[in-house]
Symmetry: C2
Subunit: 101 residues, 2 copies
Amino acid sequence: MAVTHVVMFTWVDGTTPETVENLRSRLQDWIDRGEGLDGLTAWYAGTDLGLAAGNAEFAVSGTFVDQPAYERYRDHPEHRAIISEHIAPHIAVRSAVQFAH
Amino acid sequence: MAVTHVVMFTWVDGTTPETVENLRSRLQDWIDRGEGLDGLTAWYAGTDLGLAAGNAEFAVSGTFVDQPAYERYRDHPEHRAIISEHIAPHIAVRSAVQFAH
């Protein structure tokens, strides 16, 4: 079965749009290179459009051919590095789900 | 620009797997019929796999050709009915983001 991973963030106060664009583009660059990401079939990330009150601020949605493909993505060294250096320091709230379909 | 909508739920205590499967299948049936859903390009929903502590319990990820297509989905009468009758009564926590890409 395919697996979709979704994660949402609300950033700590003072997180600038430049900081968010930096982390988004680092993730996108890594995804676009595609090294070690066999089985990734769709990947999108971005800042909330403001269409509804109470939304979180940023989300990623990635779909994979199966759970092992998701786990390769999740455990990829570059992914871990981008998270620890460019995402984790700015997280106020994080919520995630991985589901099969 | 395309728009992706992601929403996550944690259910109130006592929400049964049968209740969740019922709301998931009602959503899936509606999506599969596709009436009034022009511009919907991908849609997935499901229960968390338990791969990480602290995850929410259920998520939906939908991708649309543009914002109007997302708004047709969001405001669709059947969508509203499924939400009010089969989802809202069971929500403990809800978080959502809509982003362009």
